[in-house]
Structure formats: structure tokens, C-alpha cells
Subunit: 354 residues, 5 copies
């Protein structure tokens, strides 16, 4: 996720409103699934052609059209035009480098957010852009790939659990955003475990791998922050009821959601602080370690170097080297050696190095 | 407290308003204690069933219902429904990962704050979520466990000390929040002692344990901040009298409380700054220490290494090594050695290493 | 780009409104190109004299006059006066050290922004000032040199692609700014590649060149930020429709542009954070490396120094050195040596150095 | 000043408005001194009993009652009640851990600020809480101990110098605050001298004491900031004339005072920045120093270690060691030694180590 | 400039409005120069006595009185009183430790700013306080010393160049401030050159002097910021036309000036960031350097220490040391030595140390 706008370059020079898909290259067909429901009715089906979406725009029941796959730009344009979406919205849906944002186009709201997953293999947070278009009685959701966090919402609609069947399209939008944000908690929790693992590992001494783990988690926090902070502002805007599509009775739900986004944003900041602290701690441990290594070398070196010199002196071949002939010379040598060693040790102990 | 949302994951996919307790697993029964009082009357009892709470909602005296234990979700729902609490409030009461917040539900205020304790064994700040629901003539308080900081308030109500018996439910809420915040001062004071201990300990030279103490205190400050800052905003909102439940004559008390929260928040920030300073100081001391160690090694090494070389030279067995036969050779050797040693020492003194 | 105001000094003491070109010294003639268009018409030509610009001020079609080269100050003044521009605007057009800014002169808007290019040879972001003056039916653009990012816009006007032929001068200004900002994405992408390169290179061990690459990218980010942040505010102002020259139907386009500037600003900040993280990581890797080097030296030194001393002892020439005469002396010596070496290795293993 | 709330703990559980003195334990009697003045009159005396203060509340002249000593809580309550002070004000007067603050009680203003002194013995900034209560025609000031910075104000009142005798109680409050802030400048000046001393001392090489001086000054700046920043806001509030007790003609004085508090706050921030810079410089000097030490060790070590090896070789006692018998062996040995030494030196010079 | 309030102490205890000069001690006489002009007239002379200034207060032409030297406090008071300046203004004019500020005294505006010069000898930014008092048809300027940046303005008035002769006193004030700010650009440019010099110097290896240059430039940036930021706010206030003395037709000039102050403030911030980056780079280079030094020592040490040990072994005098008698002993010794050396080199190469 270090390269933030890979592929964006192809768009340069294109007219505003041009649809260019900038995401991954794996070809994938577009599938459009409709869930149409009311207090008493429920229908779920896959649309054969984009034009089949048109009736749902005017129907009195609530319709949720979920679009998986953003590569077939023509197909998508036909879906968008069935709901009269502005060309700039069409452009943004396929341009998957959007920041979370909320745009009010009078007839509908356009919302961008990011669905995050923690990839255990690469230890990275991966991001998939989700666009929501919220009309008076319909919600469109666009995802890059199949597989999402909305299964809980689908289940509640299917089985009429909770209030979802009795409430408006605005509530459905809330439920989808809530599912996205709830998933952030799972990622934060996973990161919490990794941080704890690093913290415990530090006790075993410094290792290169641990340091790059810290660096990587910090980078993931920087990037996750880019997903969370704008979302927090976005939901704050919805909570203040700036659009007529968010009915006053929904504000309590959006307030709750806003609160969740604040919790996540907060946790991201706290983990950044804690990771910075861990990095400092790691470096300090390293310094401490080196200090200890140095001490051992210094003690051994400074004790034996003078002794070796003395041994060298009495290994010299001078013809007139009187000590060599003394009876107690060798014994005396050892006494001097012990005195030097003892003195050094006392000196180091006084300095607090032992 | 590093893992901020442990257990939160089980909630993912659940409908908003679903009560799921996410806290610790030790099973604990729910106990509901009522203190019902007026200027002239006082009653304190434990409720047998949740439905016994209903009359207190309408009584003209002030009622304080304290609920200990959040694991029996059904029991709690019955208590909450006796006071007509919104499902989202019910959800938040048992979801003990809330940030301090204030929500105005017209009929009542919902407040979340954290009761902190300093665990001497682990040297960690532990947190217990306290939810307060403040109605016109009643206050509900929900705690994860028995044992709290409200005994002073209970005593004042029991014995009619101070103004508490003559004032409204809003004043009772103030008194409870005041007890929570007063307890923060005790923790700050304990942390002040620990900081002072570390500061004094640094004079004795660097040690690994000291460094991780600093790191741990810094992390506790990061986490304590999460409890204090939102509380400060919350009380600020109450002080500005944004709710009709805070009567104008209570604003002077909430102003005072606001002031206390600012003091705590301020102290937390100051300790973070001081701890960062201590960490820098620690690392500097370490560097200084290493510098000194290096100097000793260098001095000993650089003085004796050339001498040892010279001794080695005259230990060689060349047949034609004229110095060995000189009469004053050995004496001359020592003079050269002393000259080298003296020159080195003078050099080091000039460089300021001695 | 470190010297931000080179040549600015010559202006000191001059009266406000004096035109002094402060940019590069390569002499370059001024060329003025006009593109005049409407839904049905299109004309493109180079102006022979500045006075030929006058009729375009009053014509009913949309006119875009692009001026390349800012060194012929007299020529420029004549162009500016054909459009009645204020002396302070004339001064700012040639003073190429402007911050991006927006000034509303009632009859026209004056906009400054920077066209950036990434110079692959010097690995630096280079900046060229672009001034836009937006009138009711005309747009003037001033550039330091020929060659720009507006070719896409020219193509769309020439061939009547998109909406540009049907919309106002305000839309043309939007299209030009959009081209400038789109180009920023290309630079961000290039920087993303460089950051990734550095990140991968770090695994191969520390190198001086890598460190100064990080430093240079950080500095470029600091300087790029100076181009992006004020532009973001500027476009924000246009989006809020503060000028009558931005018709309400254009606001949706400026909102989109604003969003792009936020994305770029965001990415610049994120890269600064990531680069700081990389620098920390680099230094840590360096420390780690040194730690390892030290360990090897220490292990070898501390094992062999005492052994060498012992060898020295038995190389001494004392007449009475009893061990020398022992039958198993030499074997004993080796046993002692092996014991010392083994003990040391065990000690180091216990300390976790091996 | 590291322990910010020492003694605060005893208050926990007490009813709001309870007076508990939390400061130092040296018992000290309370003395109340009255200065009562008007354009034509002046009276200064010590009050025998607290009740003697009552008439000054209603008198038409301006009265300044200065209270020294906060330990006799009963005595203080009687003084406070003579002026009808709110229980929360009474509590705050003796609770000497207040942040500077301004509270408007309609009949009077309650102000807390801190009188700072620089203790030369401990090199610490010491703080004494001063509470001011400003009524329509009276000012109460409460201090922990005798001895203050108000002697200049007293002199001006006694001798009718300046405008003080002709102006209101609000002006007197201004004069007292001005004396407090003027004293901050003296402390800033003293700290400036210490910073300069450290800066000059750094040239003499790194020392442990210098580092802890920097740390201590930084900590004092953190704590001084706690006294200055809230005061700045407080005076800003007074300047905007938010209370009727600050007459419009006094606003120019409070604007001036506000300006002084900004200057002090600014200087505190600048010194924090400069001290951080000095700490970095100190550590860099240390690193540089170590670098130089290492170089010497390395040069001496790497030159002599191979030489010593060679000397060792020719000290071996192999029976067949042909060089030993060569005529020019010894001379050759020295030539090789010189070649090795010279080569090493050339290598180091090329690497820039000499 | 480290000591920010030197001499300020003498003022403590003085009544507000007391004039005490706190600047440098070199005695200097006060000189007052008048430039009086209108579209058709121009007069320039030195005033013999302060009272001669009085007629200029009421004259219908524009008058600029420039006062050099602030030590003769009595003389200054007489000048100030000729223009009815408030005592607090008089105090601030001679108290040369003011922050840039703007005060509106209804009849006139009082402005403080700082004229900066870069002292090449000490490499420090020096500051001289300039006070401007702007009345309806007159401007007073007060400087500490003769010599300023206003010569360009004087020339334009003398020779009637530009618009200055035709416009109001507000325009004159603008021209003076513009001259002050224009001079800031020169200083920024000089600092840019120094930064570039340091950047290039870093390539030649670490040196102590370079590090303190970085530190000094950083400190100068901290102090320069104190001059620039408040000035930016001040000019922003003037631009918004908050005073009637700034006629609406001048706002375009003050907007331009505001823009210049933002550019300077911006550049100061950017240089702070770049200097911090340079310091980091310097330290990293240092670490890298040390790393390289260590490697050489380690390689030489670890290769030769074991060899020296072996040479020592065969220099021992044991009676039974069989290898010494072997025919190929000496040759074998060299083979072993070469094997050890080669093995070590291979090991280091594999670790990437060579």
C-alpha cells in the first residue's frame, strides 16, 4: 500500500468524468445483485443486464443493488445511468484511490469508504474501496471484488431480524457503514495482538526482524489512518443531519456510528504512539546491549593487555636481563600480574562496571 | 490495556442495539442497590428482581440505582426496560470499550466514564467502565464489578452531610463524576512518585529495568489520556448547560469539575513530556557511560599495544640482533617504553580524555 | 529548490507594483497563443503584437491566451494592460517566488499555482510558476517556459471532446487547474516508487547513498508541501463559490478538484511520515549492524587475549620456570587453553551473544 | 514540582466545598493586612480578628485585604464569609494545586495565579499560589506565605505615585497581576543566563552534569508553562471586558498585560525549543567525541597488531626457521615493519581518518 | 539573542506607563527627521527641539517623523506628548523587547515590528525594534539606532516616484512595513546560502563546526520566527480593514504585504524542517562513519589476534614441544596462518562487511 496512486497516471489528460479503472488487473466480470424488501416482502436475485436495474429506481420498496467488480467500465456506466448518476460520480466509483468522502448531489448521496482486511501472509492491511450511493428508496454499493463484510446485514434483511425491514434506505446505508466500521475493530484487535507480541519479544533481546515489524506496523497505522479519519468526519456530517436523506430518527444511529469511528481513530493514534514508544525502547535496549558488550571487551582487554606486555618483556633475549636470573623471579612475576589484575578489577568495581 | 477491543469481535455482524458483554469472563451475578432519598427521607435496599425498579422511575424522591456486574445480559435488559432506555444505550452499557461520552436522549442523559485504579502488582492503570443514566429524578449507575469510589457519596447521603439531600438528581450525577475525577488525582499522585523514583534512580547509572519502567509509564499515560480527554469535553458540555437536566444552579459545580478534569488532563500531558525527557536523559547517560568505557579501553590499548610490540621485537631469535648484546640494552628498553607511555599520556591529556 | 528566493534581493527598495523578473536567466522570447472557442467555433493562433490581445477581452466567445516566457517585462506589461490588470498582479506574474494564492479583483480572479516536474537526473522536484487570470469570458495563463501539462485540455477544445466547448471561462480555469493537479499524482507515484526502492534496498544493509536519498526525498516533500497546501485552500475557496466567476453549476467540479488536492496533500504527509520511519529504520539497522560487528570483535578478542597472555608466559626466559621442564607441560597448556576458550564460549552463549 | 498533587489525596471523598489545606506543613499563623485608600485618604493596618474585615466590604473607599498563610482553615473561612464568598471559592483558595483560572461569581471575580521564584540552591522554579477575589470596591489576595512581589504596588499606593489612588478596584487587581507577570520576566532572564552558560560550556566537551542541567531546565519549562499559558487566556478574557468589574477604561491596561503574558509564554516556548536543540547538540558532540576516540584506537590497533604478529613469528623457536639465520634478517624485519606502518597510514589518510 | 529580556529587570516594580530604556548602553543622542510632503510639495529637515514637532500633527500635508535613538527618555517623552500618545505607548516605544503587535488607540494606530540584519561576523540575526505610530495625516517611526531599510521609501518620496506622494499616511505606513518585510527576504536568502553550504559540506565527512553551524541556524530560525509570525497576524488584521486609518483602497496593498509575510513565515518553517533533516543526516553520517571505522578495527583485530596467539605458542620454551623440531614445522605454521586468515576473510565477505 506504499504506492498510493499506482495506475492513476493513465488518467492524466483525460476529460473530467472519464471512467478509467485504476485498480488491479485480474479480469473479473461485473455481477449485480438486488435485494428488494419491505416490512412484508423480500426478494433477492442477480440482474441479467444493467438495464434491469431501472425499475428499482422508482419502486416503493427499499432496494439494495450490490455491484461486485469494477473492470467492465461500459457495464458499470449502464448501471450508473439507470440511476442518473453524475459523470463525476461514475468516474470516482472506478477510480479506486479515493479518500473516504461524502458528496451530496441533491437526489442522492455519494459516499466512499474503505473495507480493510488484515492479510496474515504479508502482515499488511489491505484496502478495498466501497462506494455507496444512497437515494430516497434505494442504495447502490460498488466493490472491487466479491466477498465483503455485509453478510450480517444480508442475513438480517433475509430473516427480518432487527429493525432493518421497517426502516428507510438511510438506515440500510447506516447498517452497511456500521458493518464496515465494525470490521475495523477486528483489525485493531489483531494489531493489538501483534503489538503485544512485539512487546513481549523485546525482553528476549534485540533482533532485526522485530524492528522491521515495528516499522511495518507503524506504516500500516499511517495508511489505516488515511481510511479512518476522513470517515470519521464523513459520519459526523451525516450525524448532524446535513442531508434530508438522513431522517431525524436515524440521527441516533449515526451518532452511535460516529462514536465508533472516533474509537477506531483514537485507537489508531494510540497504537502509533505505543509503536513509537516501542521503537525507542528497542533502540535503547540495543544501546544497552552494546554497552554491556563493550564493557566485557574493555574489562578483558584492559586487564590482559598490560599482563601480556609484561610476559613479553621477560620473553626478551637481552643478554643482560637481571630479573631472569633471580631465584624468585617467576614467582614475583605472578605476584605482579595478580596485583595488576586485582587493581584493575577494583578500579572497574569502583566505576560501577561490574 | 494494550489490547483495546479484546472480545469486541464477537459482536461483528450483530444488529445495532444487540447487547453483548465484551468484558472479562469471571462470572458474576448482577446486584442492584437502590438509595432513595429526599431532604427528610432515606432508604437503602437491594432489589430482588429487576421489575422492582419500576416504581422508582416515577417516584417524587431522588433515586439512585447502582448496578454491579454486567454479565447477565437478560437481567440488565429488564432493568433498562423498566426505565425505557433506548436499545443503543443498552448495547453501550455492556460494551465496555466505550470512550467517555455524553448522549442526550431528551428524557435522560447517558454518560460513560472510566473508573481507574493503579494496580501496584503490575504497575498498570486498570480501567472499569461506569455508565450513568441521569433522569429527572433518578440516576442509574452501571459498573463491571462491585467495589467503587462512590462510598464517600453514599456516606454523605446516608448521614445527610453537605447539600446532597436537598438537591436534584443532576447534583447526584455531579457528585458521582466528582468522585471518579477525584480518584484520578490519586493515580496522578502515585505516578508522580514513580516518576520521582525513576529520576533519582538515574543517578545510579543506567539499568535495563529503569528503561522499561519509563516505557510502561509512558504507555499508561497514553492510555490514561484516552480516559481523561473525552471526559474533559463531556464535562465542558455539561457545564455549558446544554441539557435541561443540569439546572442553572448546578453549573457552578460542573464548572469546578471541568476545572478538575483540565488539571488532570494537564498533568497527564506534563508527565508525558517529563517521561520523554527522562527517556532522552537515560539514553544520554548511557551514551556518556559508553564514551567513558571506550576511553579507558582506548587509553590502555593505545599505550600498551606499541610497548608489547617492542617487547616482541626483542623476543625475536634473529642471530644478528645487535641490541640484545648491548650492556645497557635492557635499561634502554625501559627508557624507550617510559618515553612512549609518557608521550601517549600527554597526548591524551591534551585531547581532554583524562 | 533549497534557495527559495534567489534573485528576490534585486527587488528590495523598488516601489510596490514594479515588474522585476526574478527567475532563471536564459533569455527567452515571449510568445502569446490564443485559443478562441464557442460551442460552434474554434480558432487557434499566435499573436503578433500584445495589442492584438485587446479584442479578446470584449468578444462573446471564450478566449484562452497562453503566455510563455516572463523575461520581456515590457512586452508582458502591454499584454497585462490590454486586460486592465492591476499593477500588483503584473508584479506577481513575473515574481516567480509566489505561494499559490487566489485574489479576487472584482473584474477578474488572479490565481497562482505551481506546475511540478520530477527531474530524473537530479532526483529533484522542479517547479514552474503558472499564473491564471480568469475574467468573465477570458482566461490568461502565464508560464515561465514553453512546454506544459495543458495539452490534454487543448486537445479537448480542438476536437470538441467533453463539455469544455459548451461551458464558461470558469470551467476552462477548472480544466487547467485539474491538469496541474493531475500531474501532481504522477509525481507522487514516482516518489512512491522511489520510496519502495529504498525500502527494499534497506534489506541489503546500510549504505551512505541510501541515507542521503531519504534526506533528499524528505526535503522534496517539504518543498512540495509548499506547493500543495495553499493550493488546497485556494481550491476550497473556489468550491465554496466565493466569486461570481465560479457559477453554481461549476461547484461540483471544483469540489472534485478540491478532493484531488486533499488526496495529494494527504499523500505528501503520509510519505513524509513513511520517510521519517524509514530513516529511523535505517539508523536502527545501522546500530544493529554495529552491534553485531562489536560482538564478533569482542568474542574473538576476549577469547584470544587471555590465551595469548598464557603463551607469552611460557615464552619467558626465566631461569627457574618449572612448568617448562614438565613432561606434560605442553599438553597441559593446550588443555588450559581449551578450558578457557570453552568457558568463554559458554559464558557468551548464556548471555545470548551467539 | 514533579509531584503535582501531593497531599491532594486527603480530600478524596470529601463533599465539594470542603476546605482542606493541601500545601506545606510548616505551621504558620494567618495575618490579614488591610490597605484602604482613596484619592485623598490612605490607611494601612493589620486586622486583629477576621470579623474586623466586614466593614471594608461596604465602604466607599478602595480596600485591599492581603491574607498571608493558608493553614488556619477556620480563620480563613471567617474572612471569606465576611465577604460572602461561595463555598467552592473557599475550597479553591486553600487547595493550592489550582491551575490559573478566572471565575465570574456575579458579585465578584475569583482569580488564581502563581507567583514564581527561582531557587538558586536547587535550580528549580518554585511556585506559590495567589488567589485574588475582586469585588466592586475591594480586592482580597490570599498567599501561602508572607513575602511577595507586591511591594512596588504597596509603595505606589502609600505615596500616591502613578494613577493607582485615583482608579478602581479593577485597576488594583491589574496592578497586582502586572507585578506577578513582571516577576516572570526576571525568571525568564535568569533562565536565559543559565541557557547561555550551558551553551558556552558545551565547547569544553561533554559532561554528565551539563546534560542533567539541560534536562532540569526543560522540566522547569514544562512546569512554568503550566503557570503561564492558562494565565494568558485568563488575562485575554479580562481584556475582552467580559466582566462588568473591568471598566472599559481599564481594557487598555489589560491589553498591555495580555501582551506581556504572550511575551512570557512565547519565551518559554522558545527556550524549550532551544533547550531541545542544545540537548541534540550535546548528544552529537558526544557522538563526535566517541568517533574521534574510536579512530585513535583503531589506528593504533590496526598498525601495531600486524607488527606484533610478525615480531611473534620471529620469536618462535622452530628449529628450522631460516630467516633467523640470515645476515640482514633483523634489518629486513624493520623494513617490512616500516612498510606495513606506512601502508596503513596511507590507507587511513586516503579514508580521511587522519 | 538568547537572552530575550536582558535589562528588563530594572523595570520591575515601576508603575505601568513608566518609560525605562532597556536596550544597549552605548549613549546616543536622539535625532528627529521630518519629511513633509504632498502631491506638489516636499520638505525634509532635522528638528531642533521636540516641540517643533507639534505643528505637523495638525498640518494638512502628510508628515513622516523618524526618530533615531531611544536613550534620552525625556526628549522622547516630549516628542510623544506633542502627538498626545498614551503613556503605555510611550513605555512600549523604549521597551525594546516587544513582540510585533498592533494596537488601535482610536486617534492613531501603534505598531511594533523588528528590523532584522544578518551579522556576517557572528553568523547571527540581529534585531532592532521599530515602532510606528500612524495618525490620520502623520506617521512617527522610532528606531534604536541610525541606519535603516527605509532609504528606498525616502528616495521615492523625494523624487515623487510611484504613487506615494499622492496617497495617505496609511500608504506611507504600508511602504515602511513593506521595506521591513522585503529585507526579511534578503535574510532568508542569505540563510538559504548557508544551508546549501552546509549541505554540500556534509559530503566531506563529519566535522564539529558543521554541527554547531546547524544548531546556530536552527536557533536563529526559532528567534526569527518570533519576529515574523506575530507580524503576519498583525498585517492580516490591517488587511481585513479593522481600522479606519486603513482606507479600503489600501487593502489590496496590505493583502499583498500579508502574502509576503506568509511567504517569509513559510520559508522560516521550511528551513527549520530542512535544518532538522540536515542534523539527522549529519548524525547518521557520523554513525555510518563510525560503523566503517569499527569494521576495519574488527577485521584487522579478529584476523591477527588468533595468529599472534599461534606465534606466541611456538615462541614458548617448553622442553617437550614436538612441533618445534618438525622439519616442515615453520612452513606448516604459515599454512595454518594463511588458512585462518582466508577463513576469516571469507566469513566477513559472507556477512557483507567487505
Amino acid at each position: 500500500m506504499v504506492q498510493m496512486f499506482r495506475g492513476r497516471q493513465e488518467k492524466i489528460g483525460a476529460a473530467p468524468g472519464t471512467m478509467v479503472y485504476v485498480g488491479q488487473d485480474r479480469p473479473q466480470p461485473v455481477t449485480v445483485t438486488v435485494i428488494d424488501y419491505g416490512p412484508e416482502r423480500f426478494e433477492e436475485r442477480e440482474l441479467p443486464t444493467p438495464e434491469d436495474a431501472t425499475p428499482y429506481r422508482e419502486s416503493t420498496s427499499i432496494s439494495w443493488l450490490n455491484v461486485d467488480g469494477l473492470q467492465d467500465v461500459d457495464y458499470l456506466r449502464r448501471v450508473c445511468e439507470a440511476f442518473h448518476l453524475h459523470p463525476l460520480v461514475q468516474e470516482d466509483i472506478v477510480n479506486t484511490h479515493q479518500r473516504p468522502k461524502l458528496e451530496d448531489y441533491e437526489d442522492y448521496l455519494y459516499l466512499v469508504c474503505h473495507m480493510l482486511t488484515f492479510n496474515e501472509a504479508t502482515q499488511r492491511v489491505e484496502s478495498e474501496q466501497v462506494s455507496l450511493v444512497v437515494g430516497p428508496r434505494w442504495v447502490l454499493s460498488f466493490q472491487e471484488q466479491g466477498g465483503d463484510v455485509f453478510d450480517g446485514v444480508r442475513e438480517r434483511i433475509r430473516h427480518g431480524k432487527g429493525r432493518v425491514r421497517h426502516l428507510s434506505a438511510g438506515y440500510l446505508a447506516y447498517a452497511l457503514l456500521d458493518a464496515v466500521v465494525d470490521n475495523y475493530f477486528a483489525i485493531i484487535e489483531r494489531i493489538g495482538e501483534l503489538v503485544e507480541g512485539i512487546e513481549e519479544g523485546l525482553l528476549d533481546g534485540p533482533q532485526d526482524s522485530r524492528l522491521s515489524s515495528i516499522h511495518e506496523l507503524k506504516r500500516e497505522m499511517i495508511l489505516m489512518r488515511r481510511a479512518v479519519w476522513p470517515l470519521r468526519e464523513l459520519v459526523g456530517g451525516l450525524q448532524r443531519g446535513e442531508s434530508y436523506l438522513v431522517q431525524p430518527d436515524l440521527q441516533v444511529y449515526f451518532r452511535d456510528l460516529h462514536d465508533h469511528t472516533i474509537q477506531v481513530a483514537d485507537a489508531v493514534e494510540s497504537y502509533r504512539d505505543i509503536l513509537s514508544g516501542l521503537q525507542d525502547l528497542y533502540l535503547s535496549t540495543l544501546s544497552n546491549h552494546m554497552n554491556e558488550v563493550m564493557k566485557v571487551l574493555t574489562i578483558v582487554g584492559t586487564i590482559f593487555i598490560p599482563m601480556t606486555f609484561l610476559a613479553g618483556v621477560y620473553g626478551m633475549n637481552f643478554r643482560y636481563l637481571p630479573e631472569l636470573g633471580w631465584k624468585w623471579g617467576y614467582l614475583g612475576f605472578w605476584l605482579v600480574i595478580l596485583a595488576i589484575g586485582g587493581g584493575m578489577l577494583a578500579f572497574f568495581r569502583r566505576r560501577g562496571w561490574l
